[in-house]
């Protein structure tokens, strides 16, 4: 794409002429605000999303990273629907990391929520211009024509012109203004709300899809880095005599830690880098390094002690969190009975199948990167900061991501590749081993929470006290952030789905001694676990059916407005729960040793209810069935959403059954999939997904909301089967797996 002509920036929609005989339609799209860290609203920037060539081929640009959530297909289908394109002419390219595409940060389950309408407008605008071009040829009014399946059709004569044949004349037209764009009605959708297969299926089933780790460029070297086992430890000295004898090894160099400035970026840990002509030699030589470390301040971090510490702290008074209401103490005093319980979730790691990796070439005054990144613009800014290269001289090529789950939001591995390329003056691919991935991540925080509930003589829940403690994500950006922050507590703690008479939330101190990051569903994993397990305990104590109690607690129909455009709608939450109960045939009699449990959660503005059926035989749990309903508003690609929820169930099972990162003397004790286990085929239950029909509502999150409900529903089902409560994850530690 060359010779892009800039035109009136104030127009919402802009057209760029293309020398190659096609039209490229661009759009200025408001860059969205980060949901979690409030910032000044972004500015309008020109963007490029649609290209049509004379052969009719439509190339659409996906501005968001593809990591398995199907976004390339989803966003393209929104454009193609409004364009009235024939799907067989659609090709989707991945955008480089550049602010002209608007916000590209692929996390928070918000790509469809924030990009659906702008992308539809891109397609609608292209269609308008093709219609105008055709109407001029026929010398009739534009409203005498319509678009259908890659043709513009003359309403009266039924003559038709192929999109490709209109490319030149459309390219010469004035750009319509935003107010003239008309979007289709829901009932007229052709792709939106239907079941489209991934545009990348063939690439995936033939090995042709290029992930970051598959990038090959001439002269490419491969690097492995030995990092200190203790977070932020540094190299005291190292002996490379054995390592440098490994065949294929060309250089062994020390890498300084690059510390991020307060408030942004990720930096890199530093260590000793081995550079070789193949990945294996780099891995092997790394093992042969003898390194003495300065372990630093995290040397004594022991996660089991930390668990005890935060578990103790939640038994005592914490800091009152705004959003509490009523008087829980008075409620407890007048209660017929009070129930108390403490829940724990351990540290977790993402472990995407494709390990962190990046390919970089630092050349004098420019940097080119090929990497599987969720947030290419932050990577680009980060490189400009650390390497003092003008940002316009930095190109970030976004490859396929072999899973992301939040790990690949952090661009530390990109910084590493660039730092090494600069030092060795050659293109290099840094590849993390699985052990590196497990031991040097940005971990999902461990948490403790204490809950106390009051039940009156009529079985009504009168008070709800919740104290939570977990290291904050903010600690990775700002030292001494020792309490969970407001945006974190806003993920299911301050905004639980219930209407309580008296609610008090307290926050206790929890220091970070590991790099803390976000993992698929983030804090909702903690909040959904505590909330749902506790409601189940209250239901048992008050002799109520758990679903009935959830419905009671959700309370009357109401809208709760937050800071976003998406108010919480209690009626939708109740509908989702009832639908799931119906689907699972809740209340049916179960086989011997089977149990059933329920959990609900509201996250990323979507409503989810899940019921799990387990069997427990010889003290071993097997998940037999999972029923999940989601109300995610407009369902853009139904089969993709189904796939996401099936995957979320498996992801949730992995963390419930196996997931735990522990440390001793500051070092992570797990290594690889043999001691950080995953759900496997033999564990996979029947998964039943129900997507509620809410096509008139705006779309909300899909990638994450299916995860948080799984662990509490499993634990509640185990209680139902065995009468025993399990309040600390993972269940493998309880001997249940």
């Amino acid at each position: 794409m060359s010779k892009i002509k800039k035109i009136n920036r104030r127009d919402f929609v802009k057209l760029f002429g293309l020398a190659s005989g096609g039209i490229i339609l661009g759009c200025a799209v408001s860059s969205d605000k980060k949901d979690f860290i409030p910032k000044i609203a972004g500015t309008f920037q020109p963007n490029l999303f649609v290209q049509i060539t004379k052969d009719g081929l439509v190339t659409l640009i996906s501005s968001r990273s593809e990591m398995g959530q199907g976004i390339k297909t989803s966003l393209a289908s929104a454009i193609a629907d409004e364009l009235e394109a024939d799907w067989k002419y659609i090709k989707v390219d991945q955008a480089i990391g550049h602010e002209k595409y608007g916000n590209q940060n692929t996390d928070g389950s918000r790509s469809v929520r924030t990009r659906l309408e702008p992308m539809r407008k891109m397609g609608a605008l292209a269609k308008m211009m093709l219609i105008t071009a055709a109407s001029k040829k026929w010398n009739i009014a534009a409203n005498e024509c319509y678009a259908e399946n890659h043709f513009i059709i003359n309403k009266s004569t039924k003559e038709k012109i192929f999109f490709g044949d209109l490319v030149e004349s459309a390219a010469a037209l004035e750009i319509p203004s935003e107010k003239d764009i008309q979007l289709k009605k829901v009932e007229d959708f052709k792709f939106i709300g239907k079941k489209l297969k991934s545009v990348d299926l063939e690439a995936f089933t033939t090995g042709k899809a290029t992930y970051g780790i598959d990038v090959r460029i001439p002269g490419l070297k491969f690097a492995a880095i030995a990092r200190c086992p203790v977070t932020f430890g540094t190299v005291k000295s190292f002996d490379k005599s054995k390592a440098e004898k490994v065949a294929g090894v060309s250089e062994i160099i020390a890498l300084e830690r690059l510390k991020p400035p307060t408030g942004k970026f990720f930096g890199m840990l530093g260590g000793v880098a081995v550079i070789a002509n193949n990945t294996w030699s780099a891995f092997q030589a790394k093992l042969d390094l003898k390194i003495e470390w300065n372990y630093g301040k995290n040397e004594h971090f022991n996660s089991e002690e930390f668990k005890k510490t935060i578990t103790q702290r939640v038994q005592e008074k914490g800091k009152l969190v705004p959003g509490s209401y009523g008087n829980v103490n008075a409620a407890f005093k007048s209660a017929e009975q009070t129930i108390e319980a403490t829940y724990n979730v351990p540290f977790l790691v993402h472990a995407p199948m494709e390990v962190p990796n990046a390919t970089a070439w630092f050349q004098k005054d420019k940097i080119e990167v090929w990497a599987p990144v969720q947030d290419p613009q932050t990577a680009r800014s980060e490189l400009a900061h650390f390497f003092e290269i003008p940002i316009e001289n930095i190109t970030i090529n976004v490859t396929f991501l072999g899973g992301g789950f939040g790990r690949k939001s952090k661009s530390d591995f990109v910084v590493e590749a660039v730092a090494i390329s600069k030092k060795i003056n050659a293109p290099v691919q840094v590849v993390w081993s699985r052990e590196d991935d497990v031991q040097h991540s940005f971990y999902h925080a461990a948490s403790a929470q204490y809950l106390k509930g009051g039940v009156d003589k009529n079985g009504k829940i009168t008070g709800w006290l919740q104290r939570v403690g977990f290291p904050s994500i903010v600690s990775s950006f700002k030292p001494l952030s020792d309490y969970a922050s407001g945006f974190e507590l806003g993920q299911g703690f301050t905004n639980n789905p219930y209407l309580l008479d008296n609610f008090r939330l307290e926050n206790v101190k929890a220091e970070a001694n590991l790099r803390i990051g976000w993992l698929r569903s983030v804090v909702h994993i903690h909040s959904a676990f505590g909330n749902n397990c506790f409601v189940d305990e209250l239901a048992f104590a008050s002799k109520k059916d758990p679903i009935k109690l959830h419905l009671e607690l959700i309370g009357k129909d109401r809208l709760v407005k937050g800071k976003s455009d998406f108010p919480y709608d209690a009626a939708r939450m109740k509908t989702v729960l009832k639908e799931t109960a119906k689907m699972a045939n809740w209340g049916k009699s179960l086989p011997e040793n089977h149990g059933i449990g329920v959990a609900i959660h509201y996250s990323f503005y979507s409503y989810v209810a899940t019921i799990v059926e387990v069997s427990v035989k010889s003290k071993k749990v097997k998940v037999e069935n999972i029923w999940t309903s989601i109300d995610c508003g407009l369902a853009l690609n139904k089969d993709n959403i189904k796939n996401q929820l099936e995957g979320a169930a498996i992801f949730g099972m992995s963390l419930a059954l196996f997931g735990k990162i522990s440390t001793e003397n500051g070092a992570v004790q797990q290594n690889n999939f043999y001691d950080y286990q995953m759900t496997r085929m033999k564990d996979a239950p029947n998964i039943h997904v129900n997507i509620l029909d809410k096509m008139q509502e705006p779309p909300t999150g899909v990638g994450e909301p299916g995860v948080p409900v799984i662990a509490p529903a499993i634990c509640n089902a185990i209680f139902n089967a065995t009468g025993k409560r399990y309040r600390s994850l993972p269940l493998i530690d309880e001997g249940l797996v």
């Binding site: 089933t205 992301g404 590849v431 996979a684």
Partner: protein, 154 residues
């Protein structure tokens, strides 16, 4: 040393250490990147290939052990692999797609071994392959589908 192997019916001469795992020779020297690195210790199956028809974790077999042998990778083809590809497409199986090379090769080995596998056969056979995205239920269905596609074709 010089090592001769056949990959997808094509002969290659690789100059590398004889201890090098087949995975890295395929990826970094031959340049076929469809076979994936996932764990390096035969725990995840992302690197699955067939060596003389036998399902093998290529991260954990050395070049020396595959001298003069025939390798099938995801870039290659076989009758069962083609039915599986169709079934994978039919069921829209992949999410991120990264593990699917290994899943397809493992499923090929399964169908080469058991003509019509049951759910239990699939669970046993396919549990060596991890899919972090969690596409297991679709893989299970797709394997059955591949069998029916094959039967329809006969």
């Amino acid at each position: 040393m010089k090592i001769n192997i056949t990959i997808n019916n094509k002969a290659y001469e690789i100059v590398a250490e004889k201890e090098m795992p087949l995975l890295w020779a395929i990826r970094d020297f031959v340049g076929l990147t469809g076979t994936k690195f996932g764990c390096g210790v035969a725990q995840c199956g992302a690197c699955s290939v067939l060596v003389n028809g036998k399902l093998t974790k290529s991260c954990s077999i050395s070049l020396e052990e595959v001298i003069d042998k025939e390798i099938l990778t995801i870039e290659g083809t076989s009758k069962n692999l083609e039915y599986l590809r169709k079934a994978w497409d039919d069921g829209n199986v992949p999410q991120c797609g990264y593990c699917q090379s290994g899943q397809l090769i493992a499923a090929t080995a399964l169908l080469n071994t058991i003509e019509k596998p049951t759910d239990k056969d699939i669970d046993t056979f396919m549990s060596a392959n991890i899919c972090r995205c969690g596409t297991y239920t679709r893989i299970r269905k797709a394997i059955h589908k591949a069998v029916s596609l094959k039967n329809e074709a006969i």
